[in-house]
């Protein structure tokens, strides 16, 4: 249930304020009912609800984004949440850029800690090496897109942060994608 509650936080603010308590209630009833039937029914229920939530979140975010893009700037209101998202997007993009920079330093300087550490630690390092920039750039893109409001409204605090987050988060995400493709073809 906590996982589902966390997923509910990913809905756009308006949708969350309007429906999140109702969705929570329905999820609770559905899962209790499935639990009474059998464990497999409960597991199938969880899978169905998580998949449904993910598709619905994507749909609502897309709807929210389209709405923000088509609303005239003069009708947009400053939104504290959007500014917070812009700031998070900016910070995440900085972390992802730092990761890419470290990656390049390791690749071009020839200094890699990999041969000097044990096998499990090597695995952990490689996973961190790949996952941190990917996840932070994804987060930066997501939060940047969520804060499109201030960008459209112009002259609001946070608009440049969101633009920075989207552009650099996008670039890092793209380069990580290319890196994964290169690894895939190489193997």
């Amino acid at each position: 249930m906590r996982l589902l509650d966390c997923l509910l936080l990913l809905y756009p603010l308006h949708f969350r304020m309007e429906f999140s308590s109702e969705i929570h209630g329905v999820l609770l009833s559905r899962l209790c009912e499935a639990k009474k039937r059998s464990h497999s029914a409960w597991f199938a229920g969880i899978l169905r609800e998580v998949t449904g939530l993910i598709f619905s979140i994507l749909q609502e975010c897309w709807h929210d984004m389209r709405k923000k893009m088509t609303t005239p700037p003069e009708q947009m209101k400053p939104n504290r949440e959007s500014n917070r998202f812009a700031s998070v997007s900016f910070r995440l993009s900085l972390i992802s850029i730092l990761c890419i920079f470290l990656m390049l330093v390791v690749l071009y300087s020839g200094f890699s800690p990999i041969p000097y550490v044990s096998l499990p630690l090597q695995l952990v390092l490689v996973i961190l090496f790949l996952s941190i920039p990917t996840l932070t750039s994804m987060g930066s893109l997501y939060t940047g897109i969520r804060s499109l409001g201030p960008i459209r409204a112009k002259n609001q605090k946070g608009s440049w942060m969101a633009i920075f987050g989207i552009v650099f988060g996008g670039l890092v995400f793209l380069s990580m994608g290319l890196l994964y493709l290169a690894i895939w073809f190489d193997s």
Partner: protein
């Protein structure tokens, strides 16, 4: 927009409108009714249902009404009911489906 402009409906939308045709219902009751009507074939996830309800509310097919009764865990529940536009859309879609069935029956009879 005219009711005709919204046709054809998706299966989910059709079932949701059909479940609301008789009485106003809350989210959980809609899921149960759709499951029963489709003999377990269509099982709506909560996320899918509320995305559809949000769209229908925005387009004016349904409206929200306060439920006087509290749920078992004392939460306030909102009921959804069809508007005139929603009812018209449901009628038109039903007519469209009837016409399709008639057409298929005619073709089968000729063969």
């Amino acid at each position: 927009m005219k009711a005709q402009d919204f046709l054809p409906l998706t299966e989910t939308s059709f079932f949701i409108l059909l479940s609301l045709a008789t009485t106003p219902k809350h989210g959980y009751a809609i899921i149960k009714e759709v499951e029963a009507m489709s003999a377990g074939r269509v099982v709506l996830a909560a996320g899918t249902l509320y995305s559809a309800l949000r769209r229908m509310l925005e387009d004016g097919w349904i409206e929200r009404v306060e439920d006087d009764l509290l749920s078992s865990d004392s939460r306030e529940r909102k009921l959804y009911r069809l508007t005139d536009l929603g009812r018209r859309i449901l009628e038109l879609e039903t007519e469209r489906l009837h016409a399709l069935v008639r057409l298929t029956s005619l073709r089968d009879a000729r063969e």
